[in-house]
């Protein structure tokens, strides 16, 4: 391990850190990682402001998790899939989710590809294989395994990265998904973003295992714990897991990190955790650490972070203005997409509803009745 890596890991667990050879390629990769991490933070900050201003309903931030999410997802190729557990929206943007769609989803407006059906923070992007996910914990885990099975069965070169939090390791989906993946030997790997808290339940109350990574052993797959606040370490671990997956060997990586803010904008974490604990993790902030590393390498200048933040903020703010002006949601979306075609009973229900809406003046011309 080089001196650079030790420096990067000086404040964290450095077991798994790997250091890229020096060179222009690594520098560009590092700058890209830095920018993607910064975007996660800037996006969160902007969205929180919008939430406090009453413009969007709910935000679940990834503050503190930037290295874990970006580093691990950076290992994926464009045609691989990322199955989200909750806070991977910023990683999805890195992989191709347009900012416009991200922000439209936060507004749950008519530009939202999910047609405003999900609450805020539930992103999807078909173009970069980022499937729609539900708020139910752990259910996506067997989905990712099944999709990886399908890739193998169809002879398609895909890896499926399946994300979840520490709390999800207690769910049915974790058990059944891990077990099926190992038995079926499908091209997937599991990323447990262990941020210490499942809403207000700490990891010590979630499991008696020393590490969530130990759970992999029982399923007959490799499992390892990684310093999730070290972006290069998470990237290296994910690349290893990716390589294993390509060979049909699923594995589990547990990214040890810390959720700096509440579970969501509706949560007050001061009720259940110590300020001292938060302060200790603040000192290990993944962006500060990576910035310090890049500065020490001479990869960036002192003002680079502020410059990139400014760029990203401008980009995001432009898109916020666009999304503020989205047209009204079409009322027909109430009954569409339940089935491939809108069945008769739903057309009937809608038509009765729209007749009342028209009488009361709530409907607009495009909202008219379905043919029966």
């Amino acid at each position: 391990m080089s001196s650079t890596a030790r420096k990067a890991d000086a404040q964290g667990d450095s077991r798994s850190a790997q250091v890229p050879a020096r060179g222009e390629f690594q520098r560009e990769e590092s700058l890209a990682l830095f920018r993607h991490m910064l975007r996660v933070r800037v996006l969160d900050e902007r969205m929180l402001k919008l939430q406090r201003a009453g413009r969007v309903g709910f935000v679940g931030t990834a503050k503190g998790l930037e290295a874990a999410l970006i580093g691990s997802a950076y290992a994926l190729r464009p045609h691989d899939w990322l199955w989200s557990g909750l806070r991977e929206g910023g990683a999805a943007v890195m992989r191709g989710l347009p900012l416009s769609e991200y922000i439209a989803q936060m507004y749950c407006n008519s530009n939202d590809t999910a047609k405003g059906r999900q609450m805020c923070n539930h992103f999807q992007h078909k173009g970069s294989n980022y499937p729609s996910w539900s708020s139910v914990i752990g259910t996506q885990i067997p989905h990712g395994v099944g999709a990886a099975f399908a890739a193998k069965q169809r002879g398609v070169d895909e890896v499926h990265a399946i994300y979840f939090g520490d709390g999800a390791t207690s769910s049915n989906g974790f058990h059944s998904g891990m077990n099926l993946a190992a038995v079926w030997k499908v091209p997937c790997y599991f990323v447990c973003v262990d941020n210490g808290w499942a809403i207000s339940v700490c990891s010590a109350k979630q499991t008696a295992a020393k590490s969530f990574a130990d759970k992999a052993v029982a399923y007959g797959m490799p499992g390892r714990e990684v310093d999730g606040n070290d972006v290069l370490a998470t990237l290296a671990a994910a690349r290893e897991a990716h390589a294993l997956a390509l060979g049909g060997q699923p594995s589990l990586i547990v990214l040890k990190t810390y959720r700096m803010l509440g579970h969501s904008s509706s949560d007050d974490p001061t009720k259940y955790r110590d300020d001292a604990e938060v302060a200790a993790w603040a000192a290990k902030d993944p962006l500060d650490r990576f910035e310090a590393l890049l500065l020490s390498q001479g990869a960036i200048e002192k003002n680079e972070r502020a410059r990139v933040e400014g760029e990203l903020t401008a980009e995001i703010d432009t898109e916020i203005h666009v999304q503020e002006a989205a047209p009204k949601m079409a009322l027909k979306t109430l009954v569409e997409d339940v089935y491939a075609d809108v069945p008769l009973h739903l057309r009937r229900q809608y038509n009765r509803f729209i007749a009342v809406a028209e009488r009361l003046g709530h409907a607009t011309p495009g909202d008219g009745a379905f043919p029966l």
Partner: protein, 324 residues
């Protein structure tokens, strides 16, 4: 044409689907070399190999959850839950995921898949091999719920379900697996989902039923006919989406309605049939709607033949609404 039992028709339907569509695959507990505990999947592993018909770990939520991922990534999974009584670990995957994926993604992602499972009583299976849970699933928008009662429908509805773009729960009345035979065409044909079947014409009393209650109601209708009461027996066969027009029309034809199912009465499917008729055709009704159902109790073992509606109880209800 072949003269097949209902389970042979299911087996034939699976084979036809697998022969005509290479993305169709069958999996579940004991469905591989053994061919399933009822032999619905007999011979599939032999003909199509372990990659297309295989045993899974004992994990219902894993089976259904993985099927959703397969369906979202280009396969046509037809998974089996060994008994409908064991489906509840997968309830979350069915209700929260399969049924909602299209809607919550605005149509970007879908889960076209079939979950086959034997349901209902009549085999002395006790509490946990006999239940009829259709009402739980019919309360779930996004899901289709199909129940055949003849070999012809079993194959045709199954093939339609496999081709359907939405997730289908295919409930097989295990009591009928081997108790009746019927003509089944060779090769592929489909029976439309969401149209009911008139099992018997009659102008006096309409009897709504499905699954294993169809032959029971047919027997009761024969006995009623001997007493001069002609029954229109309606096999609903697709409970969700329901052929509501057909239900209303059939109710209007006689103005006297009996609804029969083996599931418990309270919040059962019969309540929905009754409500649809009350909302749309109450002015045609000559008598209160009668329900003949299982008791609002868990399913018994020794007394199962008393728990399940039989021809005598159905006939009694027919006579009651006729003489009202």
């Amino acid at each position: 044409m072949a003269n097949l039992t209902l389970i042979q028709a299911v087996n034939d339907g699976l084979k036809v689907a697998m022969r005509t569509d290479p993305t169709v695959l069958v999996f579940g507990e004991d469905v591989g070399p053994k061919g399933g505990v009822f032999l619905a999947t007999e011979g599939l592993t032999k003909e199509f190999g372990e990659s297309r018909c295989f045993d899974t770990p004992l994990s219902e939520d894993g089976i259904v959850g993985a099927a959703i991922g397969m369906a979202a990534n280009g396969l046509k999974p037809v998974c089996e839950i060994q008994f409908q009584d064991f489906i509840f670990p997968a309830f979350d995957q069915i209700v929260s995921e399969a049924a909602k994926l299209r809607y919550r993604s605005g149509g970007q992602y879908t889960a076209p898949m079939v979950i086959r499972t034997p349901y209902g009583g009549g085999i002395r299976g006790g509490l946990y091999h006999s239940q009829s849970g259709e009402a739980y699933f019919c309360h779930t928008p996004g899901l289709k719920v199909v129940i055949p009662s003849t070999p012809y429908d079993a194959k045709g509805l199954l093939l339609a379900s496999i081709d359907d773009p939405d997730p289908v729960l295919f409930l097989e009345p295990k009591a009928l697996y081997r108790t009746l035979k019927g003509e089944v065409p060779e090769g592929k044909y489909k029976v439309d989902l969401s149209t009911l079947r008139t099992a018997r014409e009659g102008k006096n009393v309409t009897v709504f039923c499905y699954g294993a209650m169809v032959p029971v109601c047919m027997k009761a209708a024969e006995q009623a006919a001997e007493k001069g009461i002609e029954c229109l027996v309606v096999d609903l066969r697709t409970l969700l989406p329901l052929d509501e027009e057909g239900v209303i029309e059939a109710a209007k034809q006689t103005g006297r309605v009996v609804v029969v199912h083996e599931a418990p009465r309270f919040c059962g499917f019969g309540g929905e049939i009754s409500a649809i008729i009350a909302e749309n055709a109450i002015e045609y009704m000559e008598a209160p709607i009668a329900r003949v159902t299982g008791f609002d109790t868990p399913f018994p073992n020794t007394l199962e033949h008393h728990y399940m509606p039989d021809d005598r109880r159905v006939l009694d209800a027919i006579e009651h609404v006729w003489s009202y």
